[in-house]
Symmetry: C2
Subunit: 370 residues, 2 copies
Amino acid sequence: MTTTGKQIFTTLESDGTLTVEVATSEFAEPKGNQVLVKMEAAPINPSDLALLLGPADLENAEYTDGKIVAKMPEPFNSGAKGRHSQRLPVGNEGAGEVIATGDGDMAKALMGKRVACVPGTAFAQFAIADASMCLPLGDVSAKDGASAFVNPMTALGFVETAKMEGAKAILHTAATSNLGQMLVRICQEDGMPLVNIVRRAEQVHLLQDMGAEHIVNSGEDDFMRQLRESIDETDAFFGFDPIGGGQMVDHCFKAMEQVAVSKMSEFSRYGSNQQKKMYIYGRLDLGPTILTPSYGFGFTLSGWLLTPFLQSAGMETVTRMRQRVLDNITTTFKSNYTKEVTLEGMLEKDAVLQYRQMRTGEKYLVTPHG
Amino acid sequence: MTTTGKQIFTTLESDGTLTVEVATSEFAEPKGNQVLVKMEAAPINPSDLALLLGPADLENAEYTDGKIVAKMPEPFNSGAKGRHSQRLPVGNEGAGEVIATGDGDMAKALMGKRVACVPGTAFAQFAIADASMCLPLGDVSAKDGASAFVNPMTALGFVETAKMEGAKAILHTAATSNLGQMLVRICQEDGMPLVNIVRRAEQVHLLQDMGAEHIVNSGEDDFMRQLRESIDETDAFFGFDPIGGGQMVDHCFKAMEQVAVSKMSEFSRYGSNQQKKMYIYGRLDLGPTILTPSYGFGFTLSGWLLTPFLQSAGMETVTRMRQRVLDNITTTFKSNYTKEVTLEGMLEKDAVLQYRQMRTGEKYLVTPHG
């Protein structure tokens, strides 16, 4: 017996036509340790947007009821040829009620429960999920539990990564995002010094109100001086950046090196011996990353993604992280949403143009049943 | 008792005036495990040029006997403010005869011997060196032993790094340099697959004559296809690049990812799980490194320098590497020189304009005593 419901699909044709639409799908019976979740809430995360919309021209797209047809510009269309003509479901995570299960014990134990899950198909009325990745929410509402995975585990993953690599402090750019605010709270709880880079005065105030100690405003003229000062105070030679393109990573490396050089007693043609590391974990800016030759050879730039991190961290660490999220889901790991939309509402022009900007405090929650 | 001799110094003033000149120096008596080496031969390595000349305007410089006065353009002058007004000696390595020693046993054992050394002041008639870093050359001439350190240990260091990190093959750009040719021979001896990227047809022939198996010509229209094919054949997801600026590293990452994606059974929005790593170890191009967002998050770009590598590799590895160099100094680790120059000859316009181009097969050897 299958279950019928609505689901969002995104399809990119080789000629650059992107179609995003609400369609009717048949959801198969769950097998083994799978569960079928009636999705009640799913956040629109930056990590969903690359697949859902990418850098398509949404200003000039055609919007009809529950459907967008837009043009994907070059070089992005050619760069995405791996997905050409594939009708792809979207939505990393969400929460809802388990309404059917496979015959595996883990799955059966979740029957009738409210869970957070990571199906990768969360923008839908129903989703098949692995029981092992579901988090039973108990009294926590679907809305409060919808973002229990991506942001909380990523923010915790940053702190775990820093500790594993022996970093004394963390630097974070675009620091007022939902994820950034979680990171502020986690670092406060763990006593990990955190340098927050933001770009507007009101973002400085937002983080100050949270009790953040080191806040640097890239919109101010003395940004580099502020940044050096914060690095000097914290020893933050290790950071995470969701912007990707442009020179933010370069600025961070440069400031780190200037702080390290200022502590050296004599000139070295090769720069300081201080190892400097930055991870890029997002692409808010799709332009190229620019690295200038101004900090010697003691730097490492790497990509950071949640799934490979969790695979390398091991089951024990992951279990501990998940428990911490569950215990603090309405406090440390709380997400805030500007607006709730249905699946159709998610594809309306005003909504799309707002949430694709990924601005601070403008996060959307999808409620597929209403 | 001091020893008097000629030595090259480079001085950059804060107004951007670079002066490189042959001057007379007093060399102090060696102490402890120091030795005083009468320098007979010293190579001009790319790693010397950054300090010696940097990106100064040498076309329009003033050349007088044993002296160059040139202008350092911005932003390089400001970027080098750590060295402003300092009169710096130059020359990483060379070879010569030990004519005086401190009273340490290691030093005394070298008295009268011909050694290769790494004083950092090799462009001089005499140099103080650490006995522990000297390599006794036995019957090997000073000319043959002059380049016993930087290139051989770097090329060996690449293979050691690859093995430590579990890489199955190595990719190398600008692969016909003296260092690149050593790497070809080492990889042949060690059975390590090597992808060589060159940019001209004659460089392809040079490496073919050496028996190199995988050669890719970036000057040809189907460069990316050649590169993908070589990566596919060797699994070279790990490489070293002395160029630094521009998009060569980006091309390598892109080709690596395309090969990895071609082996995937289904599309992933995050790209392949294949870890891709490139090390930048030089700056033949002083422009910024450009990284496009076209290979997901499974990449790492890092700087590589010999000294920190040797420190992390440990004494046992370093001793084994040095012995291998000494045993094969006229074969595997042989360097070729276009021209020999005196200290004064090294500062003549024709010479400077030639060796600063760092072209294949145009390496200079300095013979400080004429």
